[in-house]
């Protein structure tokens, strides 16, 4: 590693990148690599490849429970703004999606076996997060609308309503598709929303009468699923 930076052979560049990721470079060498990473594409690619190769070795470090104060410290350092509840924190949401995936494949298998395949382009099975029982199916036949079809009669307390939401992967936040009566099949116009895309999230939440006042889902998720392209 005595050669001029940028003039190494491919082998030397790989060695430099490997030792950078391994952590065995001296402080000076480490700084020199860091400075080059912004402008030296070949070195950066080599470093990225080594990071990926060696990543699995982190599994050898036994996890240690952080003290309860650590998250509070991090949160304090970032300022006092409270963490707002988001999609990420929804209990059951991620488990629910696993069930939705399986339910969707079952439905797709069924669709393949029927003589007249429907013209549906996207299909979503909405499942209950807790039990993973399918409750609704969403079909998107064309860009302008989706159909919401009940599979079961859902029970909703008298002072509550079901609100229908969707969120594409790149959207900053979910958008309401309106209030839904339990057990009723409806066609929902998508209006100005973009066409349904793969993996787009659909969910039904339980909200107070009149729907969520904040314009974002606030009540518990009743049914949830992701769009799968059928044809």
């Amino acid at each position: 590693m005595t050669k001029e930076p940028g003039n190494e052979s491919a082998d030397d560049l790989e060695q430099l990148a490997g030792e950078y990721v391994l952590g065995t470079l001296s402080a000076e060498q480490q700084d020199a690599v860091l400075k080059r990473l912004d402008s030296d594409r070949a070195l950066r690619d080599a470093v990225d490849a080594w990071e990926q190769r060696l990543l699995g070795l982190n599994a050898l470090a036994t996890p240690l429970p952080p003290s309860p104060r650590l998250w509070q410290r991090i949160n304090r350092s970032l300022g006092d703004r409270p963490a707002r509840p988001s999609w990420w924190r929804r209990l059951g949401l991620w488990q629910g999606l696993a069930g939705a995936g399986l339910a969707t494949s079952l439905l797709l298998a069924l669709a393949l076996l029927t003589a007249h395949p429907p013209v549906t382009t996207y299909l979503v099975v909405l499942v209950a997060p807790a039990t993973q029982a399918p409750g609704w199916v969403v079909q998107a036949r064309d860009a302008g609308q989706v159909q919401l079809i009940p599979l079961v009669k859902s029970e909703v307390p008298g002072d509550k309503v079901l609100q229908f939401w969707t969120k594409g992967e790149q959207w900053p936040e979910p958008i309401s598709l309106g209030l839904i009566k339990p057990g009723e099949q409806v066609t929902v116009p998508l209006q100005r929303l973009p066409a349904v895309e793969p993996n787009q999230l659909f969910e039904l939440t339980l909200e107070n009468a009149g729907g969520s006042a904040s314009g974002r889902p606030t009540g518990p998720v009743q049914f949830i699923g992701r769009a799968v392209k059928v044809l």
Binding site: L60, P66, W71, N75, S86
Partner: protein, 185 residues
């Protein structure tokens, strides 16, 4: 149709990339979800290098501040989002031991920790490729790689640990990296 828990459904994997996107948009809940998901593992990684619980927590603290402020700079074309989080934390820990000349001498305890890797991890059919490729190295060069990556040891520390001349350690590491690259592509 009812999908019960008896089917052993795989849990949906945590979506690290979306999590970083949410952090970049200022969603503190996403950062906390990442902390809940990876905090203990990252603390384990930091501790192996720092060998001190309070220091390791400082490193994880700094790592999460950095994840939050730099989430927007994460580029999926350069590697996985989870890898980005681990690399960032490891390099903070490595910088720390480089800056402070770690007081605690890594001793044979570290070697004992590495030993189970052989029995538990490489025999699994789905063991990551790195472990299978490491297995093809001789014992001493393999220990060099593990002490460097997992324990954050310098060449000199490894030489002392393995009671081997510094030059030998350097050339073992060099040859091991070449072999790993050939094995893993």
């Amino acid at each position: 149709m009812r999908i019960g828990p008896t089917l052993n459904l795989p849990t949906t994997p945590f979506d690290y990339e979306r999590c970083l996107q949410a952090c970049a948009r200022g969603d503190r809940g996403a950062l906390q979800a990442l902390y809940d998901q990876e905090g203990a593992r990252l603390l384990g990684v930091a501790w192996r290098i720092a060998r001190d619980h309070a220091t390791a927590e400082d490193i994880v603290h700094d790592a999460f501040i950095r994840i939050w402020t730099r989430a927007a700079s994460f580029d999926p074309a350069r590697g996985s989002a989870r890898g980005w989080v681990y690399s960032l934390t490891r390099h903070l820990a490595l910088n720390f031991v480089r800056d402070t000349r770690r007081e605690v001498v890594i001793d044979d305890v570290a070697m004992v920790d590495i030993a189970p890797y052989h029995d538990d991890m490489t025999l699994q059919a789905d063991a990551p490729r790195i472990h299978r490729c490491l297995d093809q190295l001789d014992t001493a060069p393999r220990k060099c790689i593990l002490h460097a990556y997992v324990d954050g040891c310098s060449h000199a520390e490894i030489a002392r640990l393995l009671d081997t001349p510094l030059g030998t350690v350097k050339s073992w590491i060099k040859r091991s990296l070449k072999a790993l690259r050939e094995c893993m592509g």
